[in-house]
Symmetry: C2
Subunit: 425 residues, 2 copies
């Protein structure tokens, strides 16, 4: 396996000899939109995104910033947090090199390593697990982050821990499960085909055997955020469009202000901080709430997504608008106001997914929002926002935060660079 | 809510006034394949299926057989098993009527009831939860089955239990979790958009509040079976094409012989028996096995899916073919032979999905195959097949059956009929 810089191939140049499902399997979710052409351009990470023309095309792995942050949010996600089990620093660095090579190949739609599932020595375990053999790149992105626990005394990194990489405070109503929280390293895999996302995480875990173990993982089946103006705002499991005012890839000035790190340790400049929260939604209780109550709690009309008192989803919130009889329409404790105010203008980039993990053993679906956000400094962005929500948001009655993670995501890689290179150099 | 017969609308006629994501959201998984037209015909359940032209179009709810059995397998699944909590037979029958009306509407791409998410009285809980508001029908099918436990003394059904609806025997290596097994009623939701499948199950659970509770549910992210000759055989998490010789919708004679019930209680004629098995796959151990060992265990080439010693996936298995040095290529205890032989020609219709449910707490992904099959009589089809596999298949070393269910799926509905009508009449 080599970690030399690789050219991202055009989608049509993938794995000669192995048929791609997209060529004859029209039932696939990752089917290219005919007429828009199968050879859509490859977008460099961090660049201004082109409209999404082909949901099966690859996204560039290298660039100024990591892909999977402002990349137009793909439809599915597999998120994993690893514990590092080796105590050997060189071993860990070698793994990060190997992971980088595999990640770059997989995001290009190739197998995890040369030889792959069937082309290597027959008496050795295959270098790829094979379940994505017939599938296109499907816009796979792999985004790495380092948790606070990695900066203990095991690897000599204590002095390199960013001040901003705090242990998140305990918020009111938190009910965190340690088996769904924390982790030394996270990888967020997003793709328009869940099998491609799962394949990527599974192969990283395979490559890491003996050096890392899976601490927790979360599958997300439907994106809840638009991160590009080319995307419509999707709905969460409360049935609402949420995050309409999300930061968008097309607004680099706002991203520079709210997402990308410019100070702190040099290895993080150009990076960002990822907060993950597994939020169980008590949908059965919500579903027995009246429409007017639901809209009051959210502060938006359920149908159009417009702020209460406005007509269009993207109309500005007017906290002073009044309805019949002079009653204020947008309550002080509505979600829309608490999530946007009291932050001195600070904003976050949301990138969450709906999840359903079977049932809770008490007759209900275990479902909710796997909230992922990126911000420049969680101390002044995510934390005060979540503190306001967790203490005052009426929606909290229907929510339960069951998992949590905070990770430092380094900047993107130049040619030849590997994940964590600047941290370990 | 009415359970009067409903016309399935053409896809373009859906919910006037609410924009469908398919119209402008190219990033959606359910995007129509341009050029093939958005107005693909509606296929009647049980009819010879047309090639799948539009993965977002509706599938007809009514027909000779239930949809979701020979319907070309959609890409995603949400399966739920309910316990009935009411003790009142009339209450249960009323629920089945209400469910039928909602199911028919949702499979047509409509909201669960008239009024829906935002059109009803504002001071009442909405009649639809709303998270699928902008999504097309996405080939949603809802398939109901009744478990043996429903035929106890609660509802006067003891005498109506089909003999074929046995309690499945305990197989070697079974490690069944009662919280993932059994259930009075199951509903299998399949769709090309997971949000549509989850929305359907969630709304059935909502409608059933106070009468049923969710016993267990399972999300499947990638289909593992082709049920139509228009589909390519997908791969399971071992990286192999499995189920190549599956029964196909285009072979009604074979379906009549192996899937559709012709005797037993009248209410089951035209129905079929569903077996669900949650099969944890120990992928980490598998991934450390050599390619030759993997192929020997499966009996197929990993790349092409061809039986060992053959060239093409669909070539017949030759158990006598020998390789270099005269060594038999297809082992007696290979999966391909055990799954097809020793059954006196009996076959099953497979319709399983890959799953990933986070991690197992021991550093591994909790992933595998949610096996679903349909057969005419599990006593002579699934049970002997599974007995042969569980005692002799070398693949069992990598498998663990953690959940199980056996359900009687009645035939399809004529106009005006409701789920379970013939059972309760």
């Amino acid at each position: 396996m080599s970690d030399a810089p690789q050219q991202v191939p055009a989608p049509a140049a993938r794995r000669g000899g192995v048929s791609r499902r997209g060529l004859f399997g029209l039932a696939g979710a990752g089917v290219a939109v005919a007429g828009l052409g199968a050879a859509a351009g490859v977008m460099a990470a961090g660049e201004q995104p082109a409209p999404v023309a082909d949901t099966s095309a690859p996204v560039a792995f290298r660039g100024q910033h990591q892909a999977g942050i402002v990349t137009p949010a793909q439809d599915r996600m597999h998120f994993v947090a690893f514990d590092v089990t080796t105590r050997d620093r060189a071993d860990l660095v070698r793994l990060l090199r190997d992971w980088t090579a595999a990640a770059e190949r997989m995001t290009a739609g190739k197998e995890a390593a040369e030889g792959g599932a069937v082309g290597g020595p027959r008496d050795a375990p295959p270098a790829d697990t094979g379940e994505a053999l017939d599938l296109p790149a499907s816009a796979l992105t792999l985004t790495i982050g380092f948790g606070a626990s990695l900066f203990d005394d095991r690897f000599g990194l204590a002095a390199r821990r960013p001040e901003a990489l705090i242990d998140l405070p305990r918020f009111p109503h938190d009910d965190l499960d340690p088996r769904r929280s924390g982790g030394d390293i996270c990888v967020q895999a997003c793709s328009n085909d869940p099998q491609v996302a799962v394949h990527a995480i599974r192969n990283l875990a395979r490559i890491g055997f003996g050096k890392v173990s899976v601490r927790w993982s979360q599958l997300g089946f439907g994106r809840t955020s638009a991160t590009s103006t080319t995307q419509v705002t999707p709905r969460n499991l409360f049935g609402f469009k949420d995050g309409t005012n999300n930061l968008k890839a097309e607004d680099p000035a706002a991203l520079a202000q709210h997402v990308w790190v410019t100070e702190g340790p040099e290895w993080m400049v150009g990076g960002t901080y990822l907060v993950a929260r597994r939020i169980r939604m008590h949908i059965e209780i919500w579903d027995r709430t009246s429409l007017v109550e639901q809209e009051d709690i959210v502060g938006r009309a359920k149908g159009s997504g417009a702020p209460l008192g406005q007509r269009d989803e993207f109309d500005a919130v007017d906290p002073h608008v009044r309805g019949a009889g002079g009653v204020p329409l947008v309550a002080d404790d509505s979600h829309i106001r608490l999530a946007s105010e009291n932050l001195g203008g600070a904003r976050i980039l949301r990138r969450g997914y709906n999840f359903t993990d079977g049932s809770d053993g008490f007759g209900h679906l275990d479902a909710g929002l796997f909230f992922v956000c990126f911000n420049r400094d969680s101390r002044t962005q995510f934390v005060p926002m979540q503190r306001a929500l967790s203490t005052r948001d009426r929606m909290m009655e229907y929510l339960e935060h069951t998992g949590s993670g905070h990770f430092a995501c380094p900047p993107g890689l130049a040619d030849g660079g590997f994940w964590g290179e600047r941290l370990f150099s």
